[in-house]
Symmetry: D2
Subunit: 381 residues, 4 copies
């Protein structure tokens, strides 16, 4: 069954970042094979990337439309496409492949508007195609451990949440005298490319998705502030959310919080205990049962249940890292693709779907609506 599941990629040329992470993560599973691509609109770079991965030159396409059409027509065409292009193009590319009957795995955020998101969702529902979205942090083994613990009632009913996703790398943008090259950062703060948000879309949506994944709670309404510091888009945002069970949570996302590299921290408080997890220390969950001492639960130890533990690849104490988190997402997606291909039930796998993508877009819009409209409650439908 080696290399039986064929995939293509749009975006992700040799000099890009996230496409390569997906390729390496997919290589963790020997069933997968990269066989087609449209890696760049710069044709030389496109071809070079194809060569790096030993692709048949005929399957290195000049544009994604040609690729979708050609691959759909081949008997040995790709089983799914990975979309790792700039955010602004996600919608059209995803739609094109869906309409060609090809399963899609798309980086987050799904797209720019709620209407686009709901349109894609409608296509997915009507066609039965698979659609994965790149909320990769849920792929960490310990994310699955926590989800399982909460489902088992280990912390009881959730009564409060505090989560943050903070970075400091864009602080220098605020300094008119800086001599650092911030060109990499500029697109993030450019509404044409990034859409209506910067840090809320880049970081805040991860919080929304992750808390929802862990707890099963949905945000009923939220209120927010966002801080632009004289830039076109926000670099800092505070959000108070109210879940459908009535509890409140506080979310903070920032790119100007010096001292943080990629500080994604989630803390969930229930009436029977609490859980804490830090993305930069992803192998450990801090669990405190009510009235007892805090436990540090490590991946790969007897404290981990079988089901979630099955995602672990190497013994405890050997950091698996982000590639394995991506690989776990993709393993489940490959399982689903494989099941669908062989006519089996493919509804039960554990990866972020189009619904997660739609919720992410709704969240972004609710935050902006509240922040720009007097910081009052905005309900998410």
């Amino acid at each position: 069954m080696a290399r039986e599941i064929r995939y293509g990629m749009v975006g992700g040329h040799n000099k890009a970042f996230i496409g390569d992470v997906h390729r390496k993560a997919l290589q963790f599973d020997p069933r997968s094979a990269l066989v087609a691509g449209c890696f760049s609109t710069r044709e030389t770079l496109n071809q070079e990337t194809g060569k790096t991965y030993d692709l048949d030159p005929d399957r290195v396409y000049p544009d994604y439309k040609t690729m979708a059409k050609a691959e759909a027509a081949r008997e040995d065409g790709i089983d799914f496409v990975v979309i790792v292009t700039p955010n602004i193009t996600h919608y059209e590319i995803a739609k094109c492949f869906l309409e060609a009957g090809i399963n899609v795995f798309c980086e987050k955020p799904l797209c720019f508007t709620v209407a686009q998101a709901e349109e894609l969702e409608a296509i997915v529902k009507s066609t039965g195609l698979l659609f994965g979205v790149g909320y990769s942090y849920t792929g960490y083994t310990m994310s699955k451990v926590m989800k399982e613990m909460i489902a088992e009632g280990k912390i009881g009913k959730v009564i409060a949440v505090n989560a943050e996703y903070v970075q400091g790398w864009l602080l220098d943008i605020l300094d008119p005298d800086s001599k650092n090259d911030m060109s990499l950062a500029v697109w993030r703060t450019d509404p044409v490319i990034s859409g209506i948000t910067n840090c809320v879309g880049d970081l805040g949506t991860h919080i929304e998705n992750y808390v929802s994944y862990l707890t099963g709670l949905k945000i009923h309404r939220l209120l927010a502030t966002r801080d632009k510091y004289n830039q076109p888009l926000e670099l800092n945002a505070n959000i108070i959310v109210e879940y459908d069970n009535g509890a409140h949570g506080a979310y903070w996302c920032s790119q100007i919080a010096e001292g943080h590299c990629n500080g994604f921290v989630v803390r969930v408080y229930g009436d029977k205990g609490a859980l804490e997890w830090m993305q930069e220390d992803p192998e450990v969950v801090r669990y405190t049962p009510k009235g007892e001492a805090m436990r540090l639960i490590h991946r790969g130890t007897p404290a981990i249940h079988e089901k979630a533990g099955a995602f672990a690849r190497i013994p405890s104490g050997h950091p698996e890292g982000l590639f394995v988190a991506f690989a776990n997402i993709h393993r489940e997606f490959l399982n689903a693709v494989d099941a669908k291909k062989h006519g089996k039930d493919y509804s039960c796998f554990d990866f972020p779907t189009i619904s997660d993508g739609v919720m992410g877009v709704k969240f972004i819009h609710a935050v902006v609506d509240s922040a720009d409209g007097g910081n009052q409650w905005v309900t998410i439908k």
Copy 2:
């Protein structure tokens, strides 16, 4: 100059908690002497406490009014009184001693209403009496180090704040089946004794005071939610504040956040760097200059400036603890009392004053007004 500054205490009998912390902290300074008290309305306990501290029985008073009058009349009367009674009585006792011409050091919160607070402030201003308030966390050496660093511009202009003061010890109140004795907790959730708030008054005001102390920023307006979980008063609150410089901060206080003992954490982000401090690890400041590696700055090391460093009592690495934080507050208060007594300028000492107390009461009321009034902005005048 031994035992030259005489003080009395109202409240703080042998079985009470915070009065004893004040006594021990004042003993750190050999200038101070406890010479009078009205420690309890239970006379036996009152007398016993007086004996424990070797007081002249004539100066162990049955009620605070008698005490204020008698001490004011003595030539060797007390220089100041420490008030450590339940919150509901602070106002009347403080007023009584002020009117008797005696300096006051009062536990926080200052009193119940803004009107009471402003009345006390007016008396202080018109009489020139000294009035300290027990916001003790500003007494830690590293609090003073951070204040100094911010004043020197080490982190530039403050652009974001994130602070929390969270505990888990009241979680059990929510469990109707609990067999634990929560009687100690009950008064905190009783509006008759605690006033209009529980955790906002107990914990949230520390955040307000501390951030203001460090940064010099004042809160212009705030919006808040508070969660009562079917109890009379809130056990959890989220607050977004807007400072007078336009920056935003997020404050979280809670008594149901399992896994936290006394988790007071303050993080201040500027356009030139960031600072972080944790009350449970009070000897260290985490300082990150823009674009550089985080530094762990320890009390008592060469990284500490002379002025703030002078508050340290023992070498770095030997935890000073909360008693020293209280002792630092009291040393400055004693310096002021001493200066006033000898006719010197007493306006320049570093302890929380009546103005801090007034601001605390205003903050509490603004939070409740917002939380109970649709979670909209409430301006603090």
Copy 3:
């Protein structure tokens, strides 16, 4: 019973360090009263210190021999003396007070030679006088919690120990070009004042005493290296110990380990679990039962047993600090003095005794004998 237990002090003038820590710690207990002293051989400083503590000038003595004689003769003479002079004088002063029939609390190390130590021990045994030694870290509440947990079998039989006490503050001594004033450091490396060791006597003996206190294990033999880096005495030492139960431990002490303030860390491994404690984070014990997740046990929480927990003064999460550790040692010593004074059994109190002091001196000598004699095993009798 206020101020009923009278004590005097030898050493500890106003400009010295450790004497003041003892005074403040003793003030935590209202039974104690400083009533006599010989604080310095510099008479002006001696008198000034006496005035600071409001002593009767007749009881501020010019030399310790006069003091011992005079206090022994008074009906209201001191119940015990605290000796906080340079190490070289401990033996003669302690002996003088013992011979005058006065209980002694002496800073560590007890004295210079094993013969001196055993002589003092013999006097203590024959007279029934109390003798405390300043191994203060055993006074932390969590030290007592761990001792109790080990006694209860929580970690089973001890099979390995790893402990270190490391500082970096003397590193600069090694730099011939340094412009820092290291005069404070010089005496520590001067054999005339410090004796045959520097860091082993200053730091290593704490490890020896603390592990012995926690586990009840005695060192059967040890081997060691010590590093002098061209100084008269060692600044770094590695020691492998073999306990009487056959298990091995590794001890490391250093004053040139940059990055450490006062890094005293003890880890004890048993066949049923493990314990870890760090002096710079003294409120927490890390406890791992065999095959389970690590627990962080905090002072003042329900996880703490009643007996050890009774040493805690303030709620969990409020750092007690080193003064309380000293105060706990002295509370037990005061209990013993009080019991003896009233003719009760005084053999059951929890403070470091003359035996601990003797063992400390033996340990120092064994380390030096091994380190200077080919790094072979030296048995401690």
Copy 4:
């Protein structure tokens, strides 16, 4: 240049652990291709593994001798072989491939005896073949950062080292009543399979190699204890080493230290500063320049120099994990293989070589000689 460097594997069937880590790490580099193997002596498992990786069935060999001969004979034969079999077979397999003229990458420990190790080294030297050894922790980006910092003089001359590699997973072996299945553990404590050591060979050699890699120091002599706890081989060992520059270090390795997953911690102290690194938190180096505050240096930040930083794959704060450490080792090994293949200088790449392997075997033997021979100094030649 895709898949241009062909490799084979001996050992590493589908149910084994470390072979898969090597395959995944090699897949991080698109130049590499797995094309041949002898994955297991169980033929069915051998064939299945070949199919998983889509190998030509002709190149899935029944035994390693056949494989070496056949691959050496093919024009498109493998460029190198990865040996991931039980330790006892390393020597003969490595020798066989070397003699067939094929480069070798062999898991550690290299072999059982110093004579074997030196024989392999002699073959490597005389043939000019490449020989990598799996000391993978040196592959972490931050390992390279520290090596560079030390080489640049950031901590001056090394004057002390303290390092440990401790685990707790074998503690249960000591419990005769345990019901856990420890069968996985049994071979480690079986001298027939593991040779003369257990934890010293498995863990201790990593310390030896890593410290040597960072500092360039060689161990001149060492003394050691090892603890068997009634098992055939040791589960705990303490080692004092003396480097060729005269400094001392303390190494501790253990498999019975409950509370540790894979606790490899290295601390290097110099006369100008200190460095600390923990394998379970591999993205951070703790660096303290003399007399200054400790810095937390994160992978991927401006604090990292260009050369070492080039090993990083993803932005700071996104944990790379162990697979990337392995991938970094293999990237350098692939660079060397590629250079050799194209007739270029292949002497300058950064991976553990046969010399590291030889030193590891010498270290193991010295520890056992000292531990079993009275714990005296044993010189390493």
